[in-house]
């Protein structure tokens, strides 16, 4: 005989105001780290100029160069900090564009008509492409500049928003409060923008944060391949690339520190996503 678990939600009669927070990292911790990184990139006094070589090449970390120098004699720490001001805003702006386009297309895809059908078809075709290769091809073809990197980031992230809005929308549309909205005489657009969309904002924002994390990695990959951001400008991916051949000869610091920076940033955006999902999920339950 199967033993069904007692459902604590049914047992508990808990007043919502007394709810204690779950044991998750609160939103402000990862968000604070990200804000601090970007702010530092623009305002903090850097120990060395990130673009002007002024030291011995491949010097190990010491009191003067905290994270050592690369093969051009550039200070790794200064470049690392400055890169945050390039990589994170690029990822954010790419994501924002894909968010707006993706959500709108997702809402169209929800429509029970020929246009909804078309969007769903297009999405299927688009998803068959390996997106990273598509991004590389786009930037390589359109030219190495920041606008094209943002465009590539935007394009590769659109499908995830379309998919999310469509699948969430299909679920929400079946819920009782949507039926209730129709029953009070709400029009189609009203149901869509007052009832369906607000109930997926949490999950969209959570997805947006994941999209930023993914974009950080994509930007790094592009720079690593030498396309996208100009190598002279600081970028974590370019920094890893610069130090790649030194790894085998023992000068680990050139690549490892920017790698850690990417790791930390991705971790932060993932944590932001979790926290957002958590706090929005809370409102849904009783």
């Amino acid at each position: 005989m199967t033993e069904t678990l007692a459902d604590p939600a049914k047992v508990a009669v808990v007043s919502p105001r007394k709810r204690r927070r779950a044991r998750r990292l609160p939103l402000w911790v990862p968000a604070g780290v990200v804000v601090a990184m970007v702010t530092a990139a623009y305002t903090a006094p850097l120990p060395h100029d990130p673009r002007v070589p002024g030291a011995a090449p491949l010097a190990p970390p010491d009191g003067e160069h905290w994270m050592g120098t690369d093969k051009f004699g550039l200070d790794v720490f200064s470049r690392l900090v400055a890169s945050a001001g390039v990589d994170i805003p690029l990822a954010l702006s790419g994501m924002l564009i894909s968010l707006v386009i993706g959500v709108l297309l997702g809402l169209v895809a929800l429509h029970r008509g020929p246009w909804g059908e078309r969007v769903v078809r297009a999405l299927d075709v688009f998803q068959a492409f390996p997106l990273l290769i598509l991004a590389i091809a786009l930037v390589a073809l359109m030219g190495n500049n920041i606008e094209n990197v943002v465009a590539a980031i935007a394009i590769i992230n659109i499908p995830r928003f379309v998919r999310l809005v469509r699948s969430e929308g299909l679920t929400i549309r079946e819920s009782r409060y949507i039926e209730a909205a129709h029953a009070i005489g709400a029009s189609g657009p009203r149901v869509m923008f007052r009832h369906v969309l607000p109930n997926m904002t949490g999950i969209i924002l959570a997805q947006a944060s994941l999209a930023v994390a993914h974009s950080i990695v994509v930007i790094a990959s592009l720079s690593f391949l030498g396309i996208g951001i100009n190598a002279a400008d600081a970028s974590w991916g370019a920094m890893i690339q610069t130090g790649a051949q030194n790894m085998t000869t023992g000068q680990w610091w050139v690549s490892v520190f920017p790698g850690l920076a990417i790791f930390l940033t991705v971790l932060c955006f993932n944590a932001i996503s979790d926290a957002l999902q958590d706090s929005f999920g809370r409102a849904r339950q009783r």
């Binding site: 919502p16 819920s175 009782r176 209730a180 029953a183 005489g185």
Partner: protein
């Protein structure tokens, strides 16, 4: 003229596998202003489908729906939306029927925003406050979200939203069945008070015999997509004519341990709704059924001037 009139309504659904479900089969009924017609039946009897059909939240396969003389099924979408101010519904699941991201004031005020577009924000606010008080909620709850309320309070919000535009008919789809006993009584009392004040007609859908007996003026007993018996509730309860009604009433266990329990009358489980039955839907479970019941087309037939029964030998009582 009746407030709501459903005539020969049928509804068939097609499941994804291609199976047809016959949810409603040739149902006719009417609700008058200010009265409560209770629709009683078990799950799968089609009573909730009928309630949604009355509001045209779903479309019937055949039949007609008239509300205050208007043919509801021929209305264009904008006209149908306008009609919704007069024709409202209260759902079984109070929490699920409220948008979790809206404050109570916005939920209750939304029908006004739709139907009374020229109402000033101040007037709207006043009307919402008035209704909040009318359904027995505290005024300061207007700023709360549905998730912060108990089940009973959530159902009060559902009621407030339904009555804010002063409808003439409200469909109540099992409004108390998800609530605990002590809360259920509060809500029934509130619904009765509101009906007395506002003169609304109720189409009250329920499977709870105690509740139906308490609230209804007339009842319609449903089984497997058909109405098998209808009449004033006092008479139906006192002298049920259809074997199914008799069994259903016997299924309500008396709470007084001294009161004797009527014998169980039906055998087996209800027929699958994927089969379209020509004869009586109770055939096979009925204690007084005969061979002819399987073949004879059994339709609702008057037994006196107020009651109708769909049975070839109404009023037969098993010993």
């Amino acid at each position: 003229m009746s407030l709501l009139e459903l005539a020969n309504v049928s509804k068939e659904f097609e499941l994804s596998g291609g199976t047809r479900v016959y949810a409603l089969d040739d149902v006719s009924l009417s609700v008058d202003a200010g009265e409560t017609l209770a629709l009683i039946g078990e799950s799968g009897s089609g009573k909730s489908t009928l309630g949604r059909l009355a509001l045209r939240l779903i479309e019937p396969t055949r039949g007609s729906v008239r509300f205050q003389g208007t043919d509801v099924l021929s209305l264009r979408p904008p006209d149908l939306r306008r009609l919704r101010a007069k024709l409202q519904i209260i759902f079984q699941e109070p929490f699920e029927s409220l948008n979790p991201r809206m404050r109570l004031a916005d939920i209750i005020g939304e029908p006004l925003a739709i139907h009374r577009a020229n109402m000033s924000p101040k007037d709207r606010q006043d009307r919402v406050a008035q209704v909040i008080e009318q359904v027995g909620l505290a005024p300061d709850m207007a700023r709360r979200y549905p998730g912060e309320l108990s089940g009973g309070q959530q159902q009060r919000v559902g009621i407030a939203r339904a009555i804010v535009t002063a409808p003439s008919l409200v469909v109540l789809d099992e409004p108390t069945s998800s609530l605990d006993l002590s809360v259920r009584a509060q809500i029934l009392q509130l619904l009765a008070d509101l009906q007395a004040q506002l003169g609304m007609g109720y189409l009250f859908i329920s499977h709870d015999i105690h509740t139906v007996r308490y609230v209804s003026d007339r009842i319609a007993v449903m089984y497997r997509g058909r109405v098998v018996e209808t009449g004033p509730s006092g008479q139906v309860f006192a002298d049920p004519q259809h074997p199914y009604t008799q069994a259903l009433l016997a299924a309500a266990l008396p709470v007084d341990p001294g009161e004797e329990m009527p014998p169980a009358r039906l055998v087996g489980d209800p027929l699958s709704p994927t089969r379209l039955v020509r004869g009586c839907v109770l055939y096979g479970r009925c204690p007084v059924g005969e061979d002819r019941c399987a073949e004879t087309e059994v339709r609702l037939t008057p037994v006196d001037d107020v009651r109708s029964v769909a049975c070839v030998k109404p009023g037969t009582v098993v010993g």
